[in-house]
């Protein structure tokens, strides 16, 4: 019995080792995906500037105090501070997750010991970034706005948490005795959640405005938009690669040769496949967005023209990709293995699974070599930031360029494989 079992196992092992697709799926795919996820979470390559959150800074005051605030913010390792004008609209358009506006008179307030006024513009769709940002902003603002504000904030916090009066007084006296004890308390690289929606913001003199997302600025809507767009793009790639795979299916069954023996064959076969694939892709996208609109409240009707044009571009790019793979692979099994590896990797790199806003800059750059990233940028632009056709023109153009390039490769591969008679 044991001998027979070993014989069966040895046979299966031999078949497995000879099956390149099975090897790819079993060993290469997990390593690739683990690498992508590890990199996304900043746990490889020594950390470096992983997960630095972009914060825009606009100084309408120009005082020594506002400049000192900028220096303090720039010293935060978790923040990537950029000085820009018109920061509100930039956050509104999705260029950055948040921005600080220093209004005129900030320096005078600090000098006079008054609670200064600052404005924090936020994109509520980028929830993770907001938490990291808050954790880093608190100590900086406490330092920059003076001990009186920090003391006031501590006092309000203790009151809110129900500390007895005696304990609060003791804490205040300790604060007065060691005015620097709070420095760094929130840790320079802190990523602890902190909620600006409560008393904290007011105590720090922050006026918080959520400026992105329009009337749909709920987390459900933001999450829904990303989830629906991410899944739509990934499943589109799988679906359209399968459509492209009908070329191989027809080659195996002999129908492709039969069609090639008709006078109107040639390019019409590939063009017909492309049309079919794009049509299936568009239908798939329509279905998912209707579902997203009904179930998650994704605002699919906010910019219908932009959504349609972008979806056509996405479907064309994905169809080109699918056909390209289909003519490169010799068998359907090969196609299944290679497409799974490529699509899962592209989806992870391109932001179909998690927002690219939370990953390091170099990861975002690599991600934009995939069509997923451009598709996701466009969808997020339309569904979350309410961008119209002009706002997503670059995404559409890049996707159409991908469609042309992959379509050309597919045609070249087709001619080499099916049109050559030598």
């Amino acid at each position: 019995m044991i001998r027979a079992a070993l014989t069966v196992a040895a046979k299966d092992l031999r078949l497995f080792v000879r099956d390149k697709v099975a090897l790819l799926m079993s060993f290469a795919l997990p390593i690739v995906l683990a690498t992508v996820f590890g990199a996304a979470m900043g746990s490889v390559f020594g950390g470096g500037d992983a997960n630095r959150i972009e914060l825009l800074f606009e100084d309408l005051d120009g005082s020594p105090a506002s400049k000192a605030l900028l220096v303090e913010l720039q010293a935060q390792k978790a923040l990537q501070v950029e000085v820009r004008a018109d920061v509100r609209s930039r956050v509104e358009r999705g260029s950055a997750p948040a921005a600080i506006l220093v209004p005129a008179g900030f320096g005078e307030d600090v000098a006079a010991g008054r609670k200064p006024r600052l404005v924090l513009y936020r994109d509520p769709g980028k929830e993770i970034e907001q938490q990291i940002l808050a954790g880093n902003l608190v100590p900086v603002l406490m330092r920059a706005t003076g001990p009186a504000v920090a003391k006031e904030m501590m006092k309000r916090g203790m009151e809110a948490m129900g500390f007895p009066a005696g304990m609060r007084e003791m804490a205040e006296s300790m604060f007065d005795a060691q005015p620097k004890a709070h420095d760094g308390a929130a840790a320079t690289n802190s990523k602890n959640p902190f909620d600006f929606d409560g008393e904290g913001a007011s105590a720090l003199g922050l006026q918080v405005e959520d400026v992105a997302g329009g009337s749909n600025s709920s987390q459900k809507s933001a999450g829904g938009s990303h989830a629906i767009a991410g899944i739509a793009v990934m499943m589109l790639l799988f679906g359209l690669t399968a459509c492209g795979g009908t070329i191989l299916e027809e080659e195996e069954s002999g129908t492709l040769q039969r069609v090639r023996l008709t006078p109107n064959a040639g390019a019409s076969i590939l063009v017909g496949k492309m049309l079919f694939t794009v049509a299936v892709g568009l239908s798939q996208l329509v279905l998912l967005f209707v579902y997203g609109g009904l179930v998650f409240g994704v605002p699919v009707l906010a910019e219908p023209l932009a959504l349609f044009v972008h979806s056509v571009a996405v479907a064309c790019a994905a169809a080109g990709f699918g056909l390209c793979l289909a003519v490169l692979c010799r068998t359907r099994k090969q196609l299944e293995g290679l497409s799974t590896l490529l699509i899962l990797t592209m989806s992870a790199l391109g932001g179909s699974w998690f927002p690219l806003a939370i990953v390091p800059e170099w990861f975002r750059t690599i991600g934009h070599f995939t069509l997923n990233a451009w598709a996701m940028d466009g969808y997020q632009g339309i569904l979350w930031y309410g961008k119209g056709l002009s706002g997503i023109a670059l995404d559409v153009l890049v996707l159409l360029a991908i469609a042309v390039a992959t379509g050309w490769f597919a045609w070249a591969g087709w001619k080499r494989r099916f049109e050559r008679t030598d």
Partner: protein, 288 residues
């Protein structure tokens, strides 16, 4: 290539097709007359499939000259494809489509207009004996039904020349008989046929002339009778004498004249027995 004889459907001169160092076709020369039914025979690897791929525009020769219906299959491929029909060995149909949808698709790809398409599809369904199952998906068909549909799908555009590559593989005698009748009708209509098979009895039944290929060359060519005499003659005299019911008297007379003779009663072959017992009508239940 010299000008083709207007009576020729196919003219091949010194055809060579190499794949690397291997020569699939090694200097083949052949002429097929218009309206002729040619049996194209040979063992596996003899070069039959390669030759047919060249003749049907799917492959270019390495050297030599080929003319099909007066056209060069490489340079005139688009026109030639509209004038030839190829019945592939495999069932090259879309299982998820009905018989009618399959035929309409291939007809449209051949550029048939609406009226001619409807007429051709209707005729093809009748010829395949599938008119009453035209709306059923091909995946529900028996092997014989698929084979018959596979054949008529290549005839929708009324080709002048048809290549049939083992068109009866894996079907029952009734369907095979139906295919024979279909081929007979093509012959009667003057269509040139090139018929490839390993079922030699089919060639004997359906072909005017036979070409036997081996290792990429013609090793024998002629009518069935001619080839039989050539091989039979080398083995000594065997013949057939029709004597009616008086076989015993005829045998005695021959022996009395010093002629060595033997009486073998002619019995039906197994296919004849089978068809007599089960009938000639098509059996179109799905395989199982």
């Amino acid at each position: 290539m010299p000008p083709m004889d207007s009576d020729s459907a196919i003219e091949i001169r010194d055809l060579v097709k190499s794949f690397g160092a291997a020569r699939a076709v090694a200097g083949l020369s052949l002429t097929v007359r218009r309206g002729e039914s040619l049996g194209f025979l040979g063992p596996n690897g003899a070069g039959k499939t390669t030759t047919i791929r060249i003749l049907s525009t799917l492959m270019a020769p390495t050297s030599g000259s080929v003319s099909v219906l007066g056209l060069d299959p490489v340079r005139g491929s688009a026109e030639l494809r509209g004038r030839i029909g190829v019945v592939p060995q495999e069932i090259a149909l879309y299982d998820g489509l009905t018989a009618r949808e399959n035929l309409e698709f291939f007809g449209r790809m051949h550029g048939l207009d609406r009226a001619r398409l409807q007429e051709s599809v209707g005729r093809a369904l009748d010829e395949a004996g599938l008119a009453d199952r035209a709306g059923d998906r091909v995946e529900t068909y028996s092997g014989g039904m698929k084979r018959r549909l596979n054949i008529v799908a290549a005839l929708l555009h009324a080709p002048e020349l048809v290549f049939l590559d083992e068109p009866t593989v894996g079907i029952d005698p009734q369907s095979r008989n139906h295919v024979f009748e279909l081929v007979d009708r093509l012959r009667a209509a003057g269509t040139t046929l090139v018929y490839t098979t390993h079922q030699l009895g089919e060639v004997e039944r359906l072909c005017d002339r036979i070409v036997i290929l081996d290792r990429g060359r013609t090793i024998a060519e002629g009518s069935f009778e001619g080839l039989r005499r050539r091989v039979g003659g080398a083995r000594g005299g065997r013949g057939r004498l029709e004597v009616g019911a008086r076989a015993d008297e005829a045998l005695a007379a021959l022996r009395a004249a010093g002629i060595e003779a033997r009486f073998d009663e002619e019995l039906p072959d197994l296919e004849q027995v089978f068809l007599t017992l089960t009938g000639h009508a098509l059996r179109d239940e799905a395989d199982g």
